[in-house]
Amino acid sequence: MKDEEKEERLVSLLAARRSEAFWAAQRARITAGALQKSGPARAWLLAPAAAAAALLIVLLAKPRLPVPAPETVVSTAFLEHLDLLDDMDVLEAVSEEEL
């Protein structure tokens, strides 16, 4: 068997083989998910109110606020940045020239 044919055969082996029903169902799920009003869009509508509420809470709670344990601070920061990780997957995939 020629080298190119062997490579072609190997490459075809690595492809995932699924039924048409599987691809159609997956397509439907993706389309439904992508066309839904996205989380960030809804969050954007609520952002001004949320920011004002957060500021108010911080101002009211500040004098009595105990110092959080370091591990709580780290966990909170991690959770707050989880959403950014999702965007990072896209941003990392865009070359500098494209940005």
Binding site: M1, K6, E7, R9, L10, V11, L13, L14, A15, A16, R17, R18, S19, E20, A21, F22, W23, Q26, R27, R29, I30, T31, G33, A34, L35, S38, P40, L85, D86, D87, M88, D89, V90, E92, A93, V94, S95, E97, E98, L99
Partner: protein, 189 residues
């Protein structure tokens, strides 16, 4: 879809059609990449969905300077890396890993579309699936990434750009990965 083409701007009513075509054209490659790099059918399905949803939300920022397929596969590869980071983190904080969940494909997903000889074909497909995945799992991470991207039809230079490697390094990884895969899967070649 050609190399630099991107879906045309469309009225809201046609959005679903555009998205459907985009997904139909690339879902097999994105899913294959996710499946081969995670070895987990459920995770691959999630990563495929997340890849298209993220890409759809950021599509206006895509200038079409590189291939849409390459862009999608890079997003998927990054999501796979996030998946492994997340698994390591879960393991590190003692939440454990649920490796067995979704590891294999459901039998009905492997059933051929042609009803004739279904049980035999499904069994053969399941066996092939296991052997291929086992062979890929034996490769070191970099060789695995290169081999899986190569299997989606990416040129060596495109793989290098996606993984941040020199083309020569990609070539060396592909050469070595191919040699090992040919040994593992020789009977199918």
């Amino acid at each position: 879809m050609t190399r630099t083409e991107k879906p045309a701007e469309s009225p809201a009513g046609q959005e679903e059609d555009v998205l459907n075509r985009l997904v139909a054209e690339h879902q097999r490659q994105v899913y294959s990449l996710a499946l081969r790099l995670t070895g987990n059918a459920a995770a691959a399905d999630d990563i495929t969905q997340e890849t298209f949803i993220s890409a759809w939300r950021h599509l206006k920022g895509f200038r079409g300077e590189s291939s849409l397929k390459t862009w999608l596969l890079r997003i998927a590869a990054n999501k796979v890396r996030s998946y492994w980071r997340w698994k390591k983190l879960r393991s590190w904080v003692g939440l454990g890993t649920r490796d067995e969940d979704g590891e294999g494909a459901a039998l009905e997903d492997l059933l051929p579309d042609d009803p004739a000889g279904r049980p035999e074909q499904a069994a053969l497909a399941a066996d092939l699936e296991r052997r291929v995945q086992k062979a890929i799992n034996l490769l070191p991470t970099r060789q695995r990434e290169v081999a899986v991207l190569r299997a989606q039809g990416l040129a060596l230079a495109e793989i290098g750009a996606a993984l941040g490697m020199a083309e020569g390094t990609v070539k060396a990884h592909w050469f070595e990965a191919r040699r090992k895969l040919e040994v593992s899967l020789g009977e199918y070649l």
